[in-house]
């Protein structure tokens, strides 16, 4: 494309980072890039807390009997690990961080459609996170992140603050989704037709639709559980005419699609990364874009595959089972097209590309084990065992986390104008991919062997695999700490990146890195699809 005339070089030192100074300028900013960065800090903090809890859990599971903590503490830890990781890290990680930062730039817009709502979204996230953390310190729920009634409505622990915290974070998620939908519809630059939208935008669009439509149901069910726990409503209590299965239906109506709120943007990141590092537009662009919407749509009608043995009818199980297979098909389309993108490309092996390779393998394995647990008769054995735990960690950590790390490395120069050390990047990527396998492959085997999840103590036949998993988790944790250290150092000491260190032709590279306060000095005009590497690289871009 065309970027050379899209912006005119301004004074290089004026970027969104230093255009205004002082803490107040950050706290009251309406700049989508600054809000994205604040979300990044928030979600990385959540990742640290959730990760520390995961390590505590793995430590306890090193031996079959009680060791470092008591049963109640353990139960609180796995609950909070789930709540923090899913609602405070995974859901906002890619849409609210990278979506916020990049979406308007990719669209050639100055900002999102509703900048104030965007800031409100961040404060709601902060308030919800604070409420949930406060709830953890004062009591801490022991229900599991799924809050199944009637246990969640009768447990003596404090569930209400955490439920309200998650409810508030959900509001934040709705605001962000709404904002993105309107922005994509109304703020595209001249020439940017739907057929030219970057695949990251398509993916975030699909995720935003789910955020807006499904999150209200989560809010509803969380409020009802909180009300039942606090005031004794009888909605989910069979002794008073309620139905515990109703709670599960409502919960999974959101919480299954929420997986796609996390996975779709991750797939979007992968589409950008694979195009940039193989210097080819994504093979089968239309299919990849359409499958994002397909997943968003079908994702709404598969929730019952969490309830095959919960007491729903055999007919329901059949319908939910066969629809779940469709998600697998849409995902397979994407995977084949990503691999196809490498064909006749010019592939360079960088840190983001290393994470992409990890992502491909983990997504296929994790996705196909997802199809396996949607195969109704097999689920009977695997349901609520470590097989399911391993499956969703393959999708969440193996998929979303790999994409998050790829995004963090790919767009680090875009956000901060500096480079990270490539050698250390590759070392930590290898550490993380190996550590990930060592942590979660044993958990698949534990599931096969029949170890139920949420077990504080376990029969001795499960010990060896648990030790292996804990050892892998240690490796994984080292990988993350290494990344944290070199990225923080790179913020200050990293080599200056220039505007486009990857020579990428993604639209977000049409402006300087880091971008100026209003993204572009002049409105860009889009003349082609993104990632068109058929023309020689625009050196003006690359070397400025």
């Amino acid at each position: 494309m065309n970027g050379a005339e899209a912006w005119a070089p301004g004074p290089p030192e004026r970027t969104y980072l230093n255009a205004r100074r002082g803490v107040v300028s950050w706290l009251t900013t309406r700049d989508h890039k600054r809000i994205g960065l604040m979300f990044l800090m928030g979600s990385l903090t959540a990742l640290l807390i959730g990760g520390a809890m995961a390590m505590a859990i793995r430590l306890e599971l090193l031996s079959p009997g009680p060791s470092v903590m008591d049963a109640l503490t353990y139960n609180r830890f796995f609950t909070l690990h789930g709540v923090v990781m899913i609602f405070l890290f995974m859901v906002p990680a890619i849409p609210s961080v990278f979506g916020n930062f990049l979406l308007p730039i990719m669209l050639g817009a100055k900002d999102v459609a509703f900048p104030r709502l965007n800031l409100a979204s961040f404060y709601l996230y902060l308030a919800g996170a604070a409420l949930a953390l406060w709830g953890m310190i004062h009591g801490g729920a022991d229900t599991g992140w799924t809050f199944y009634a009637p246990y969640s409505t009768t447990t003596p622990t404090q569930v209400a603050p955490i439920l309200l915290g998650v409810f508030t974070v959900g509001m934040s998620s709705i605001f962000t989704g709404l904002n993105f939908i309107v922005t994509i519809h109304t703020m595209r630059a001249p020439g940017l037709s739907w057929g030219r939208l970057p695949l990251f935008v398509w993916a975030v669009y699909g995720a935003s639709i789910i955020q807006v439509l499904a999150t209200p149901v989560l809010g509803l069910v969380l409020l009802l559980v909180a009300a039942e726990h606090t005031f004794g409503f009888g909605l989910f209590d069979p002794a008073r005419g309620g139905d515990p299965l109703l709670m599960q239906h409502l919960f999974w109506f959101y919480s299954h699609p929420t997986v796609y709120i996390q996975v779709l943007p991750a797939m979007g990141v992968i589409s950008e990364v694979v195009a940039c590092f193989s210097r080819r537009p994504v093979f089968g662009y239309r299919m990849v874009a359409a499958s994002s919407l397909g997943i968003a749509l079908v994702g709404f009608f598969v929730w019952g595959h969490h309830m095959f043995i919960a007491g729903q009818s055999t007919f329901d199980s059949g319908v939910f089972g066969v629809l779940s297979m469709m998600v697998g098909v849409f995902t397979a389309i994407k995977v084949f097209n990503w691999v196809g993108t490498l064909y006749r490309g010019a592939v360079s092996f960088t840190t983001p590309f290393a994470y992409l390779m990890g992502f491909l393998y983990f997504l296929v394995f994790g996705g196909m084990t997802g199809v396996a647990v949607a195969t109704v008769s097999l689920d009977v054995h695997w349901h609520d065992t470590y097989f399911v735990v391993a499956h969703f960690h393959f999708i969440m950590v193996g998929g979303v986390m790999m994409a998050f790390l790829a995004a963090l490395h790919y767009w680090f120069p875009k956000m901060f104008g500096r480079r990270y050390p490539e050698g250390w990047g590759l070392v930590s990527a290898v550490l993380i991919i190996l550590g990930f396998n060592a942590t979660f492959v044993p958990q698949f085997l534990l599931g096969n062997l029949g170890m139920p999840r949420r077990y504080y103590q376990y029969p001795e036949r499960f010990e060896a695999l648990n030790v292996a998993s804990s050892a892998g988790a240690t490796l994984l944790a080292f990988g993350f700490l290494l990344i944290l250290v070199y990225l923080l150092l790179s913020l200050r000491y990293g080599e200056k990146a220039g505007d486009n260190p990857w020579l990428s032709k993604g639209f977000e590279w049409n402006t300087r890195s880091p971008p100026p306060e209003h993204n572009f000095e002049r409105m860009p005009i889009i003349e082609g699809a993104p990632h068109d590497y058929g023309a020689p690289p625009e050196v003006a871009h690359a070397t400025r």
Binding site: G241, A310, V380
Partner: protein, 339 residues
């Protein structure tokens, strides 16, 4: 144990269902391993073949032909549908207990399992069953949701408060098999264990007769009680009198204020609200707890709710009593699914 079982850490197979379902298990798991490795290796090979030679190298645009895109859809879809088909067939089998199955009532409570035989003893934590005979489990819970799991049988079923769910198995090996709770149920969730003791049929019959005669005083129930009285049917009869059920429900087929209990179980009834319902364990329990929801056609909605007045074990006893009131040994199809 085959090598494959050891590689996949699959527990031994000790039920007919386990034998059947593991074929699909192998198929799915092996395909998954092969496919994910193939994708990873293909990506690596493509990287090696097409790596970047000069910085900023140009590339030729390649667009996938339509047949290739179709292949991307059809191949995974075919695999997934075949798995689903086989899996759903097996699942239906698991949802349809054989007609001659022996019934056992299972009650989960924080944090133990209780087992009760309709016309025999009840026990805590140990379920004795004969090898080679189908056993149907009718599960409920006294407090929160639990889940009954025997990995060697490859079966699992949630036990919910206020309703009955079912599953079944035919054990193929004698021995002791651990029951684990797989639905998180509180502090001692991880040590809520039970045991299924599979006995050779003759051994089981001997034990059974001994229990019936009240000769064994394993502590499961007071030995002084008559076997008849301590059986669930006997308890149900006593309860029906104590609770006043018999003031409205006759035992001889005469309709009174409510439908007669004779030959009620297994019948299909028309409802006041239109529609039909199969009278099974689940319907009978619902009718005790929420009697006005599904009133049989021709009767007035006058029955009071026994919610809170009837414990799960008592409800099971009443159901068993109603089931015992049949003129012919029942040949009707047993309820399918859980509701």
């Amino acid at each position: 144990m085959s090598l494959l079982d050891q590689l996949l850490f699959l527990p031994e197979r000790a039920s007919t269902f386990a034998e059947q379902v593991d074929q699909l298990h192998y198929f799915v798991v092996l395909t998954t391993i092969v496919a994910s490795t193939a994708v990873g290796v293909t990506a690596l090979l493509l990287f090696v073949r097409f790596r970047q030679r000069t910085v900023g190298q140009q590339t030729v645009p390649v667009h996938p032909p339509i047949w290739l895109e179709a292949l991307f859809v059809v191949v995974p879809l075919a695999f997934f549908l075949v798995w689903f088909g086989i899996g759903y067939r097996d699942y239906l089998l698991l949802s349809t207990p054989p007609k001659d199955a022996m019934d056992v009532y299972v009650m989960g409570k924080q944090w133990m399992w209780q087992f009760a035989y309709p016309d025999g003893p009840s026990s805590v934590e140990v379920l004795r069953v004969p090898k080679g005979r189908p056993v149907r489990l009718l599960l409920t819970s006294r407090d929160v949701i639990h889940s009954f799991y025997v990995s060697q049988f490859r079966i699992k079923q949630d036990a919910l408060p206020g309703r009955y769910t079912q599953t079944w198995f035919t054990a193929t090996r004698a021995g002791s098999f651990e029951v684990l709770c797989t639905e998180y149920c509180g502090v001692d969730h991880s040590i809520m264990r039970g045991e299924v003791l599979v006995l050779e049929p003759e051994e089981f019959d001997r034990w059974w007769q001994g229990q019936r005669r009240g000769l064994f005083a394993r502590g499961d129930y007071p030995a002084s009680r008559e076997a008849e009285e301590s059986s669930m049917v006997g308890q149900g009869r006593r309860l029906a009198m104590e609770l006043g059920c018999l003031r409205c429900h006759s035992l001889d087929g005469t309709p009174h204020i409510g439908p007669s209990w004779k030959d009620l179980y297994g019948r299909e009834e028309k409802l006041e609200s239109g529609g039909r319902v199969k009278v099974d364990e689940a319907y009978l329990t619902r009718s005790m707890m929420d009697p006005l929801a599904e009133v049989v056609a021709g009767f007035k909605p006058v029955m009071p709710s026994f919610r809170g007045r009837v414990e799960p074990a008592q409800a099971a006893a009443l159901v068993e009593f109603i089931k015992s009131l049949r003129s012919e040994p029942f040949a009707q199809e047993l309820p399918r699914g859980e509701r």
